[in-house]
Every structure is written in C-alpha cells, then in structure tokens.
Assembly symmetry: C2
C-alpha cells in the first residue's frame, strides 16, 4: 500500500506538470503484482533447488514462446494440433514435461486413450471377424462366422489381412478408422459436426472390438500402463460401461463391465505397486429420455453398492450441443444426488446463451463436484465466482477443444483467463489416443507453453499437478500428495543434475 | 432473497432424499438472474413500443442463431468474415441494424474507411501518375511527369488505364491493391504477420494518392457522408496526419493536415446539419524512438492549441506486436499527460505475458481514457476490475480482430465475456473499408448475432449505441444523446409499423 502523502503529492504534481513518471511506473508494478498474486501457482514457494530447475524450465519456455512470437510462420502452438504434434517431440521442454510427475488424469474416456497403432495391434487377435461396407467397418470376435448381419460378408480378420496382398497397406488403411488425425483438418472437418461425426464413429466402429471382454480388460490394463509411463499416478476414468461379450455367447451388463475394470486395476496394482489407483465415473450417453436417465442412475447406485471404493460418481457424455440438456433431467438428477456425486460435462460449447450453454447453470445448481470442460464458463461471471466459492474443479482439455473445433488458436482458450483468475483448474486429456497425443504430456505442454502467460513458471506446473490430486475423489489423497512430493523432488534433482552435467 | 426457513428445510430435505428439485430449479434461476442483471444493457428499461420492436428483433436473431447452431455447415458467423460478409446482406436483421441509429464511431483510422471501389474511383482523377513495379504500385499527383524515383516509369494513370486494352480488367486488378479481401484467407494469410503485411501495404501504396491535399480532404468529406448514411451521428477519427502536398509543390505538415480535416468537417456540417461532428485523435506510428514520440507530443499540443474543439487526444498505431511497447515511452507520455488525453491501443495481441500484452498495464497506469481493442484484457482480472472502476471505455473491433487474425471464430472473441461482465464496451470498426465492411453495421450485427448471448436483446443494441456517445469526448454529449433518443424512437416506431404492415 502507498502512503497518503506521496499519493497526494503525485496527484497535485499531475495537475501541474503531467503524471509523475515514478508514479506511473509504481502503479503499473502494483497492478502487475496484484495479478501475479492471483495466478494459479502463486501460492507455491519454490525451494532453492526448484528455483534452479525453474531457471532451466523458463529458459526453455521463453525461447519457444519468443520463437513463435518472432517467427509466426514456423512452429508455434497457435496452429491446429495436428500441424505441430510431431514437432513438439523435438522440444526439450516437452521432454522435461514428459519426465515430470503430473499427478492424476481426472477427465478421460473409455477406449479413447491409446494410439491407433495400439488398436491396429489388437486386430491381430485370434477369432476376430471383420465386416467391410464401403468406408465403414465393424468387428466381432467369434469362434465361427458371426450370425450378426453384415451387408457384405464377415471375414476372418487374418484372412482379410493376408489376402489383401499388402499387409502394410492394409494396416495403414485400417489405422485411419482409429484416428481423427488428418493432414488438412480444416478441409477434412469444415465444421464442428463433421469432426464430431468422425470422432463418434471411432467409438461406434470399434464397439465390437472393445466390447469383447478380454480385449476390454486388456485395453484398460494397457491404459494404466501407458498413463503410468507418462508419469501419472492415478486416474478417474469416465465410461459408458457398454455391455461386454465373450466367445461362449455370454453377455455382461454395466455392473459387470465396471467389475472388469476393477479386476484389471487390482491386477495392475499388484504388478505395479507404485501406481496409486483408479476410480470410475459412470458416464453414459446423454442423447436419451428422462426414463433412461432414471435407469442410468439405478445402475450407478448398483455399481456404487457393489464397488464402493472404486465408484466415484456419475456424468453424461456425447456431443453436448446435440445432446439433451441437463435441465430435462432435473427431477431424476435431483433425486439421485442423495447417493451419487456428479461430475458433469458442461459448457463444451461455443453457443453463448443456448440450452447447451445453460448446462453450466444446471451442473452448478445440481452440486456438481467438478465440471468437465467448462469451456463456456468464461462468459459467465456469476458462475466463475461460484466455481471459486464452491471450489468446483475445472477439468480442462485444451487439445480436445482444439481438435473438436471449439477453438482454432489455443491462445484464445479460456484456460488463459482461468489461470489468471486463480480458478481451480485441472489439466486433462479427454481422448488423447484418438488424436494421437500422449496420455497427458501434450496437454500439459500446450497449456504451459501455448496458453499460460509467458511469465507463468514451474509453480504453475507444480500447482496443476497438485490440483489434479487435490480435486480427485481418492480417499488416500494425503498419502498420494506425500508420494507426489517425493517424486517431484527426485524430478527436480534430476533436472538440475542433468543440466549441471550438460545433458539437457 | 430466499427466506431462512425454506432454505433450511431444503438443506435438511437434501440430506435425506437428495436435492429438492424445486431448490435446484430456484437456484439455477437465481444464478441466471444474477448474470442477466450484470450484462451490458441490463439497466435499460424498454417502453411498450420498444418491447414490440424487441420481439421482432429477437425473432430474427433467434432464427439466425438457431440456424447456425442446427446447420453449422451453412452460413454462420463462426467462419471467417470474408466467408459470410456478402451473405449477411440477405439477413433481415442486418437490414434492421443498418437502419438503426448506432451513435458514434470512436475507433476508426485515416484512409481505411471507404471501400476499394471508392478508391478505384479516385484513380480516375486528373493529374494522377502511377508507377508499377512488379506487384507493387505507387501514385503521385503531378502536373508533369514526376521527378520522384520509379524503378520502371511514371505513367499518367489515364494512359496506363486506356492503353491496357481492357479497362474493366485493369480496374479489377487495381482494386486488389485496395482491399485485403481474398477468397481463401487461411491460404493467403497463413499467419498474423502475413495479413498485417498486406494490410499495412494498403496504406503505404495509397500514400501518394491520399497525400494529395484535395483527395485527402475529399476522402474525409466522403467518409463523413458514408458514416452518416450508416446512421452514425458522430465520429472520432484516429490519424497519423501524414504530410500533404499539392500540385504547386507545397507541402503541409501534421498541424495543417489536421486543419484540412477541420475544414472539411465544417463544410460537411453546413451541408448536413443533422450530423453532430467529429474529433481527432492524433495517432502516429509506434515503431519509433522515444525522441520521435517527444516530437509527436509537441505536435499534438500544437494541434490542440490551434484546434481546441476539434482535437480529442493522442494515441500510437501500427501492429502492436512488432511496434515499440508503451513502457519505452513512459517518461515522455507521463510528461505529456498534463495537456493531452490518451486513447491508447493496447492488448491487440494473443501473446499473453509479453511486452505487447503489458501495454494494457501501461495504458491504464498512464490514465488512458479509453482502450483501443483491449483484446487481451480478458486475461487480466485486475485490469478488468480497474477498467470498470475507472470507467475506461473499451473500443472493440470484432471484425478487425477476425480479419487481422487475432481470433478465427468470433464466438471466442473476449467481447462475449466483456458483455457478460457489464464492462464499458463500445463497438467500433477500425478500418472497415479495407475489409469491405459497412462503416459500422457489420460490426454491430456480428457483435449482436455472433458474439453476444442468444438472449441479449434490443437493450444491448441500445446500450451499445448509447455507450458510443457516452464514452466519446464530445462536449455536446447531452444534446447528442437527446437527439439520439429522438432518432431511436423514430427507428422503433418505423420498425413496429413496418412489421404491422407486413413489410419486414
């Protein structure tokens, strides 16, 4: 605070010979300082060693930001993710962020998590049949030729592949079904519905593949493995919990699908005891009637009853603009709130003042614990206050919002203002496999280099990782944060040491 | 406010059988109402007739917004301005907005205001010489062949045109120098520097054309005419005040250029006494040294001394990212503040935390009366508070920001959050001629249909028009607002009448 006398003096001065230059400089510094105090990460105090690491990280960050500023024609994060995703791997800062303990992933979906190459590999499994119809494809595991309809003909995948004459070409073509990545995204996806159509089709096309119980279970195990390797210690997975099937003709309902998840989690933790765990958010499709939502909620309660430690809560998924808005389900969701925690998708839209946009109000009124995306929140000043007051975690997925056409230039992503306002932000990755991103590293990198202030430093990175643990539903949060701090110190020590040894 | 008893009751209820549905609905309504109260325009009360007009306007708006929402593949304002600017003319709402009294234009530059067709017409003037060098062009008025250097050869424009063999083709080619509009903007302008280069070149190429005193004066007279026809009653024009010349070899300095403006304004007001006036913001190029800024400020003071009623204040212009930041001129600008009001461009950038971005802090600390663009302001929570507290008008130019590549999809323009937060917003148009927009109607239309909430109505339109008068520097503000109200009533009456008569 300034004293009264110099302030008064500078006012008097100003009326006589203009503004006092020192006063202008002091006032600017004061305004800047107030903003710095407000930013996400401003409450973190760095140790001496962290300060050293910070200098390394900030050298890297400023070089990359300034190169983008000075040479916008080359690599920079203002372009579409597909245009820079491979270049990112050359960035030393990206490598640092890969190695960095990043805490938890709190917003990630079903079978959208692993790369198209992984999915192509799955198609090498025994007993897999495929049905090609023009540009469409479907899969089914079966001991004999499936009885389900196929407009052409079910082929044993192995036969289709090896009779194609060129396995490499066959697989490359197949791979295109498992990714939304294309060379020219603005041409391939001229509008939001076009890209959502391609994105949604991935899940439709692969339903016969992933619905096979052994594959479903393997996929989750391998997801945990991939996330652990990306230095993630815990995840909360959203799933529609599709019915599963096996070769014996058995089918498994949503509760049993949830149990498959739990079984694989237990197995994974036996194999990798340094991984902290996973919990489930049951998140079925939102384009349904109120009575279906009532059934969903009953299913959710059954899962919670059977897997109380594994079940985290409830959500609804699908393209929010084209889905049914939350307000249609208020009676059901109000009643369900006695037993269930909510983690609603809301505000994944650009359409200000529409019913989709209003989902943000309903989600808050329904007591949601976190908000998925919250992209439109920046347009809602009262909700911004409420999010802060109620401490509702915001699950931000920058790359997803870019790929799914909410924002072309991520410097305009509302995350920038959320970070500036010190909102409870968690960085997540949504469906990184479908756009060929790493489980979380690309999203962290893009948020840090592309969206946050040029001046936002290691404190932001640490805070974002800590937030992901803090806003999780894990019952062993303290233990997890304790372990995180240990891993963080090791990461910092390693970074400083490698820098000293000239290895960076 | 809710009573304590029902609130307590609903809390108790919630713990027993979930949330009370009525409580959820009430809470949402409460949150929504608080936001509605905060929006720009919420303080306007509509008369009965205005309510009728509002119903007409909102029918049109919702139809257009919902068509965009439902059929994103067709016309909608999420695309680049060049893609929809001609379609807009088919919109009945655009026609309404054209007819609507829009108040003042407070942010508009020199010779960027009239269409390329108008500029082509100017090239039919006598005594005009042209120098073609590859894709470059320059002009000079002269009685004889100019002595200035030309890498090829000065041609009398008339000779060049009629010896071309195809006047239409010649003019079409010429026209391309006077517009940034192209069929495929993302291809033509891959980055911000590319489009700024084309934009800046327009001013460079036409400097010999507009620097000719009679043309300079005619251009301003015709600007006032075009703006008046677009239902604008007052403008504040920013100008670099270039030296002018005539056929006799005389040159005129910045003060004399300012006097040319004033002379034409006086003539215009004699011809059109219903136009309220214009004032000048001297806004020379920012890519200069501190000593040049000192000279600028001296010039500004001279203009103020000679034209005290016409001179409004001082600013600096040019691509902000590549210009010198305000902080380099703090000593000069602090000292200049004794005599001069500031209207700084600031925050016309996407680069969060850079020196360009910091211009917002310097502008506020220097006591700027308004901020030009303020695009980056949404990332600065403390400055947002200060702008409101100090009542600093924000001159928002949505189409400019789209064309000059700050934002690809205007639904992500920060204006949306400024409107939601009730900030002192003024809609302006920057350089509408260069991108072939109307003086102000396109910007109003895009702000209203493309950026503001689907629910924002006639009160927003009226408030934006009133703001443009309120945040002007006009000394006859009350009289202007009084006259505005009269014109507004006529507009409302006409709209309601035409609707009754089935003319809409």
């Amino acid at each position: 605070m300034k004293g009264t006398v110099p302030l008064l003096f500078s006012f008097l001065f100003a009326t006589v010979i203009g503004l006092d230059e020192k006063h202008v400089i002091r006032e600017k510094a004061n305004l800047l300082a107030r903003e710095v105090d407000m930013m996400v990460g401003s409450d973190i105090t760095l140790t001496d060693n962290e300060e050293k690491a910070n200098a390394i990280v900030m050298d890297m960050k400023m070089k990359e930001v300034d190169d983008g500023f000075n040479y916008p024609q080359f690599f920079n994060l203002s372009k579409h993710f597909f245009k820079y995703k491979d270049d990112v791997k050359e960035s030393p800062l990206f490598q640092v962020i890969k190695n960095m303990p990043k805490g938890a992933v709190l917003h990630a979906h079903d079978t959208g998590l692993l790369s198209p190459d992984y999915v192509v590999n799955i198609t090498y499994s025994d007993d897999l049949y495929v049905c090609f119809v023009d540009e469409d494809i479907s899969f089914l595991f079966s001991e004999n030729e499936p009885e389900q309809s196929c407009e052409t003909q079910w082929l044993l995948m192995r036969d289709a592949r090896y009779s194609s004459g060129n396995v490499e070409k066959f697989d490359a073509h197949l791979r295109k079904h498992f990714t939304v990545v294309v060379d020219n995204p603005s041409e391939a996806y001229p509008d939001v519905n076009a890209v959502w159509n391609k994105f949604g089709n991935y899940f439709v096309k692969t339903s016969g593949l992933f619905g096979y119980k052994p594959i479903w279970e393997m996929y989750f195990y391998d997801t945990l493995k991939a996330f652990r390797e990306d230095n993630i210690m815990y995840i909360e997975i959203r799933s529609v919990l599709p019915p599963l099937y096996d070769l014996k003709g058995n089918t498994y309902d949503a509760v049993q699908t949830a149990k498959s998840y739990k079984k694989m989690l237990d197995r994974f933790i036996l194999d990798y005891p340094d991984f902290f765990g996973a919990r489930l958010i049951y998140a079925p499709i939102r384009l349904v009637s109120a009575s279906t939502v009532e059934e969903y909620l009953e299913t959710a309660k059954r899962i919670k009853a059977e897997l109380p430690d594994f079940f985290a809560g409830f959500d609804l998924v699908g393209q929010e603009d084209l889905g049914v808005p939350l307000k249609e389900f208020i009676p059901q969701l109000s009643a369900g709130a006695d037993e269930l925690d909510y983690f609603f998708h809301a505000g994944e839209t650009n359409w200000f003042g529409t019913t989709t946009d209003d989902n943000l109000f309903d989600a808050v009124a329904l007591g949601t614990k976190r908000i998925g995306h919250a992209f439109a929140l920046a347009k809602h000043p009262v909700l911004l206050q409420e999010v802060k007051r109620r401490n509702i975690g915001l699950e931000i997925n920058v790359i997803s919002n870019n790929v799914l056409k909410l924002v072309d230039d991520i410097r305009n992503h509302p995350l920038a203002s959320f970070l500036a306002q010190g909102l409870p932000v968690v960085i997540s990755s949504d469906d990184p496999g479908v756009w060929e991103a790493d489980p979380l590293s690309h999203d962290f990198y893009v948020a840090f280099v592309g969206v946050s202030s040029r001046n936002a430093d290691l404190r932001l990175l640490k805070k974002l990782a800590l937030n992901s643990l803090y806003y999780s539903t894990a019952p062993y949060k303290d233990k997890m944060i304790y372990e995180f701090e240990k891993r963080w110190s090791r990461f910092i020590d390693g970074l400083v040491r490698r820098d000293n040894e000239g290895e960076l």
